[in-house]
């Protein structure tokens, strides 16, 4: 199968929330090992495009989660808890990282002092 076809298949698969049994069987039966790897690469990229990763020091309140959903419409919010950030919020969307955490403030200050 051509790369473009695999990419298209990955885009279609990623539109669904999970990979259906039918799609899974097709992928495993029809594609060889190399093509499965390529498909998974494209599928991961598609998921990355659909997801927004949010890192905070504590669990997001429903109010904050709602604000974030409004802000990143048509995106799945994936929340991570990391106490190392101290406080604030860090958002990653594909390659873009927006960091408003206390840890970032400390890191910036220390880099400035260096």
């Amino acid at each position: 199968m051509k790369k473009n076809n695999l990419k298209h298949l990955a885009e279609l698969t990623a539109k669904e929330k999970t990979i259906s049994k039918k799609t899974g069987d097709f992928i495993l039966k029809s594609l060889n090992r190399k093509n499965v790897k390529i498909f998974l690469h494209f599928y991961r990229n598609e998921l990355q495009k659909k997801r927004t990763y949010v890192t905070t020091a504590s669990v997001l309140s429903s109010e904050s989660l709602k604000s974030l959903k409004n802000l990143f419409k048509e995106k799945i919010i994936v929340s991570n808890i990391d106490s190392n950030v101290g406080a604030g919020i860090k958002v990653r969307q594909e390659d873009i990282i927006i960091d408003y955490t206390f840890k970032r403030y400390i890191d910036d200050t220390i880099e400035l002092l260096k």
């Binding site: 020091a57 504590s58 802000l71 919020i89 206390f102 840890k103």
Partner: protein
């Protein structure tokens, strides 16, 4: 004549004596005088030559003495000149060596100073980095417990507001 006879003068004897004398004179002149004269002349020439040679030798000696004195004088002057020159050169060389050594010492000291400064700067830089890293670790550990839930929520909301505005 009588008078001469009274004194015992005999003319014949006198004549005979004259003849004897002439014969002897002739013989003397013929066989002795010339060789003797030649010998004397030869000897005289020899002596003259010897004197001349002695004179020459004396002159040669005098010349040699003069030459010796002159050569010694020249040699003395030359040696003095060489000595002075050598002394001057040695002073110049000594000064050059001293100058070079001084410059080398100064250069070495400058290098050492630079090296010490460099090492000090490196040490300070490393110390600064280390202290900042320690500070980062301490601060990161401290902020984990620094904010309560309410403060966390306020800061999250502030972050979301910033995200909206960005």
């Amino acid at each position: 004549m009588e008078i001469l006879n009274q004194f015992g003068f005999d003319i014949k004897l006198f004549a005979a004596q004259i003849v004897n004398f002439l014969v002897i004179a002739y013989i003397f002149k013929r066989f002795l005088y010339k060789p003797l004269l030649a010998t004397l002349k030869k000897r005289q020439e020899l002596i003259a030559k010897g004197l001349k040679d002695a004179q020459k030798a004396s002159e040669a000696l005098e010349n040699a003495e003069n030459q010796k004195t002159e050569i010694l004088g020249k040699a003395s002057k030359e040696s003095e000149r060489i000595l002075n020159e050598t002394r001057q050169q040695s002073i110049v060389v000594r000064d050059e060596i001293m100058d070079t050594a001084k410059k080398d010492v100064e250069k070495l000291m400058e290098q050492t100073r630079e090296q010490i400064k460099q090492e000090h700067d490196n040490f300070m830089s490393e110390a600064k980095k280390t202290s900042l890293e320690i500070s980062r670790i301490i601060l990161t550990e401290t902020v984990k417990e620094l904010f309560d839930k309410k403060e966390q929520e306020i800061l999250i909301k502030k972050g979301i507001t910033k995200l909206k505005n960005s």
